[in-house]
Amino acid sequence: MTSPAATAVDRSAPAPSGPSGSAPRLRTSRRRHSSDQPRRSVLLTVLTGLVLLYSLVPLIWLAVSATKTQEGLSRSFGLWFDGDFALWDNIGETFTYDDGVFTRWLLNTLLYVGLGAGGATLLAVLGGYALAKFRFPGRRAVFAVVIGAVAVPGTALAVPTFLMFSEMGLTNTPWAVIIPSLISPFGLYLMWVFATEAIPTELMEAARIDGAGEVRTFFRVALPLLAPGIVTVLLFTMVATWNNYFLPLVMLKDPDWYPLTLGLNSWNAQAATAGGEAVFNLVVTGSLITILPLIAAFLLLQRYWQSGLAAGSVKE
């Protein structure tokens, strides 16, 4: 019987030992691995290249289309530029159209991500640290309940959460989006796994012997060691919050509180409404602006989140 716990034992070897060592170690082990099988295959590269094309062509389409005027979108070939290069005009118009409502949506999204993803990460770090490093009454029960609840589809929660929040007067306020975003079971799980491996118990004991309290031990000893795990959790909670559509759709009526996702969809939908102006060029440009920050974050922070994710996958 292959239980996850058993596979975890098999895989103990290359698990990152700590933040300082994890990223470089992952690198070297990767390189060593590939040098054992030096025969690179053109055929395999080409076949995998098909999946690469599939992944990138829509993004290229988006980037190219953002340079076109609305007329250009329909008259030119999708994957090549139109005569008019309208990217800068489009960006300007995206931010100023309809009294700059896009800017408002962007700020809302930043608010939801800052408080939601930031808060979710904080709660996950504290909770994961507790699960990894303390034994306390009810610990197993908490874990079982969290796991059980995660299997409940979000659908089952949306309506009752809406009704509950509605009675509490929270719907149509930013809190209706932020509060549910604060819980990331994935984040808790990842931090728990990561903290187990990254914080040597002896170090905590040493800090305590030196007279440090629990809070001080956490901030001075544990937190620095948890950095790559924190980056990973933060990135994934950021993606979840930045990309969230269903929750704000249910909770918000006032377009002034929309995040980017909901706003873009409303721009797209207005072409279909009677008397609505079609602004497809702004939908496309706004979409590009919406995805750029996340793609940049993933690319810039690659080595951190990949080592953090590898640590998590050890246990899966």
């Binding site: 019987m1 996850p4 596979t7 098999d10 992952l26 082990s29 691995h33 040098s35 030096p38 025969r39 690179r40 295959s41 995998t48 999946v51 690469l52 992944s55 389409w61 999708g78 507790a130 699960l131 303390f134 034994r135 306390f136 009454p137 610990r139 874990f143 969290v146 299997a151 409940v152 589809p153 979000g154 089952a156 929660l157 949306a158 009704l163 509950m164 549910p180 604060l182 819980i183 079971p185 799980y189 993606v239 979840a240 930045w242 990309n243 929750l247 996702t261 969809n265 497809f280 939908v283 979409s287 919406t290 996340l294 793609i295 993933f298 994710l309 998590g312 996958s313 246990k315 899966e316």
Partner: protein
């Protein structure tokens, strides 16, 4: 909510021995307390409230009355519900194997060390995961257009007439394509991360025994990442059953093909927010939740038992 959650909470497994074996104190609660408090507010309370709601019915005459399990009886004989469940089941049966299959093949290709430019492949194929479902669907919706989308361009350029991806016959496949595009890279990364930590000595032993690449894959790599495969499958099942964003955003483009009860999730949304039938909506959501959990549980049991 309708996006696939990251590989949340894998599965119940024995917790590692806590560090402080002898000091069983309440200190840990100080750190875990905030999470549990918010969790109770946004997970446990709505579930309890949902169950409570499902036991009542709001009637035009007589107001809200306790009806016991009547709503559940109604759900079990509700053709619209079953039709939507059938649709997502078909989606699940076709889309998930394709998506996970591609993800697995790419992960194995990356792990084989035989690709040129592996890091570029890995990062680029992962990127669509960072794209919101809304943007992904808007993009593909534009590209699907037969008049001025890519499909239309190809039709014009080659003088052919490709079938309309937004027609009732094809729209489910078109949605499947969007979801596949969004999550292939994500699943690939999960598989790849699991493959990276397979002990290298196993490959050497296999080589000495004369095992070829294929044999190494079937005898070592696949069994070693079974846990990751099972988890990816479970989360894909949950994701398929929760399908909402993509059909809902495509709906204006394909109004004849995508109805308000296209998926169970669309149906509960429509019941609640267009029909004001909160009680029945909660019931349908609970039934759907129970079905999802049952299937996820069976997959986990089977996945973990197979082989040795």
């Amino acid at each position: 909510m309708t996006t696939l959650q990251p590989p949340a909470i894998a599965e119940p497994r024995p917790a590692p021995p806590p560090a402080r074996r002898d000091r069983r104190s309440w200190t840990g609660w100080g750190f875990l307390g905030p999470f549990v408090a918010v969790f109770a507010l946004v997970f446990l309370a709505p579930i309890a409230y949902s169950v409570y709601l499902s036991l009542f019915r709001e009637q035009l005459i007589g107001g809200t009355t306790f009806v016991g399990l009547d709503n559940y009886g109604q759900a079990l004989t509700d053709d619209r519900f079953w039709a939507s469940l059938g649709r997502v089941s078909l989606f699940l049966a076709v889309q998930v194997p394709i998506m996970l299959g591609i993800a697995l093949l790419v992960a194995l290709a990356l792990d084989s060390g035989r690709l040129y430019g592996r890091d570029f492949f890995r990062v680029s194929i992962f990127l669509p995961y960072a794209v919101p479902a809304v943007v992904a669907t808007l993009m593909w919706g534009f590209m699907y257009g037969t008049r001025f989308g890519l499909v239309g361009d190809i039709n014009g350029a080659l003088g052919v007439s490709l079938p309309d991806p937004l027609s009732p016959d094809l729209v489910l496949a078109s949605i499947g394509n969007i979801v596949t595009w969004e999550f292939v890279g994500y699943n690939m990364l999960i598989f790849y991360a699991a493959l990276r930590v397979v002990p290298h000595s196993l490959y050497e032993a296999a080589q000495i025994d004369g095992a070829g690449q294929i044999r190494v894959i079937t005898a070592i790599k696949l069994p070693a990442i079974r846990g990751a495969l099972v988890i990816a499958t479970i989360f894909s099942i949950i994701g398929s059953f929760q399908l909402f964003n993509e059909p809902s955003i495509l709906q204006p483009l394909a109004p004849n093909a995508i109805t308000t009860d296209y998926t169970p999730n669309s149906y509960t949304y429509a019941l609640s927010f267009n029909g004001q039938q909160h009680n029945y909506s909660a019931t349908v959501a609970i039934v759907m939740g129970l079905i999802t959990m049952a299937i996820a549980y069976v997959v986990q049991l089977r996945g973990m038992r197979k082989g040795v």
